[in-house]
Symmetry: C2
Subunit: 320 residues, 2 copies
């Protein structure tokens, strides 16, 4: 099977489930919980979980589908809370939950999805032992996401963030949930310890690569494509791998820490390209994907293992 039709089919199934389960609420709190959840999205974490399940035990992805949904619920809960913390008013081209409702409702809407995520792990068809371990794995991922978000916010007051610190932060903020997606999928489908650990490492590395690509998209893509304001990281002086390497190369981008015209953004990009920063950052993401794919070697050869490789290549080639 081709990757894009596969992703399309997972997104369709996931959307249908989410709309059926969360989409018809009339109560304000439940409408707020559902707002972002049913607004689409690529459903990449469910896809990774389901591919991981089929890669260790062909045909098991259907059984673990509720756990795949749990990963999307977790992702959405973190987005709702992050948007409050970051004061963002737009997400996927629509108003964020705390803007459309209010902050208390957004805090609670996130908290509801948080509980629903753990509930959905337990709804999977798997051994009780695997479910208990999956709950633990999800809890660990949630803690790391919080740590990552907290560290990311603390970077705002610093100009000396190292590449190592950035990668550690991103590993928690984004890598941990992809690691848990692959790990939980394999675990619930009955994968061996070795397979589950390999899937976890694959998810961690490719998840970091995913975030690096997100930073590149923020800088390079048009707002119509990304659904966000263009070059917001540059305007806010955010410490991304791009900015950290620019600084290390002696490139001063502090003049761009203000409202920017498209011409100014293009000018900054040209400087970064000339100094080989963009290409270097892209290479780092590619090589994380390559080493992540090598972790999959412990899995039996299968269509799904191949698709896990392809999805991670998509992480670093996508334009939005």
């Amino acid at each position: 099977m081709e990757l894009m039709p596969y992703l399309g089919s997972v997104a369709k199934t996931t959307d249908a489930y989410l709309i059926r389960t969360f989409g018809s609420a009339s109560d304000n709190l439940y409408r707020a919980s559902a707002h972002l959840l049913v607004a689409g999205g690529k459903r990449l974490r469910p896809a990774v979980a389901m591919l991981a399940a089929d890669a260790v035990a062909p045909g098991r992805s259907q059984d673990i589908f509720p756990a795949a949904v749990a990963l999307e619920l977790t992702h959405t809960f973190t987005l709702i809370h992050d948007d409050i913390m970051d004061g963002d008013s737009l997400r996927r081209g629509a108003p964020t939950v705390h803007k459309k409702w209010d902050e208390p409702t957004a805090i609670l809407a996130g908290d509801v999805l948080y509980a629903r995520a753990f509930e959905h792990i337990c709804l999977a068809k798997a051994t009780e032992k695997a479910k208990v371990r999956a709950v633990g794995m999800l809890a660990t991922a949630c803690i790391e996401i919080c740590e990552g978000q907290h560290t990311d916010m603390s970077f705002e007051n610093r100009s000396d963030v190292s590449e190592e610190e950035y990668l550690s932060m991103v590993g928690k903020k984004t890598g941990a949930l992809y690691a848990a997606s692959a790990g939980i999928g394999g675990l619930l489908a009955g994968g061996s310890e070795e397979q589950v650990e390999a899937l976890y490492r694959y998810g961690m590395k490719t998840g970091i690569a995913f975030q690096i690509q997100d930073d590149l998209i923020d800088l390079m893509a048009s707002p119509e494509k990304s659904g966000k304001d263009r070059a917001s990281d540059l305007r806010e002086g955010k410490q991304t791998l791009i900015m950290i390497r620019a600084k290390a190369a002696g490139l001063d981008l502090s003049e761009y820490r203000k409202e920017l015209t498209d011409t100014e953004i293009d000018e900054a990009i040209a400087k970064l390209e000339k100094a080989n920063i963009i290409e270097g950052v892209r290479q780092t993401a590619f090589s994380l994907v390559e080493t992540g794919k090598r972790d999959l070697a412990v899995l039996p050869d299968s269509e799904e293992r191949r698709l896990l490789g392809e999805i991670s290549e998509y992480f670093v080639t996508r334009g939005h």
Copy 2:
């Protein structure tokens, strides 16, 4: 054993565990998570969980101790988030987390404890099956707590809340976690379906009674005892059972919706006492405790069953 020494010993054990596990953090996020957690508290939910465990299977409370801690972690997470939503600056006589740090840190500090709660359920010594059910029970309680808090906030814009609506809100906001405490304790200790359900009902009813007593304490107790501002519900025109019954009795307390002197508070209390409202509300709490205690009849006669009865009497007789 007497109740007070028993509660003292649970609090001591719980405090020691929490301080050991959460108390020595140097990182800001972890200090914020630990702030309220290690600041004391009566640890009533852990006590209920441990008594329920011993009441169905003598000596099992030690095995389920991590789950007892999970209930305190859940309670603390909801307090941290509630304080943000309610804009409260004092809790247990100390600054609230979002005041001592900031809102983003408080949101994350709560989110960390939330994950830690689910992690701690899994750390209990119990069958895998019981743990999976306990995770589901905790998730359900968390969802109900969010619903209850949301409904409670929506009451602020209404003056026509019925007694039934109030009791339903309180059942979710406070009853659900006591129900889960008793239910999870019994479940993890290997209680039968009938026993677990009875414990759940006991926890729900006595938890509602607990909240009614909280409302009475808010009105009657001195701030030194309660650690909160006196009569805050009266000043804010909050819809408690007291206020709802006062309104039904034709007693207009709207003049007290402002900053109040002690004399004015005493005057309002005198009016409520004269109209028999205070006594009636107290009776409602007492009778919830009585019916809750009757649910315990399915458990074998034991010291711990008796203490579960006594702890619920304490819920409605305590002065702070």
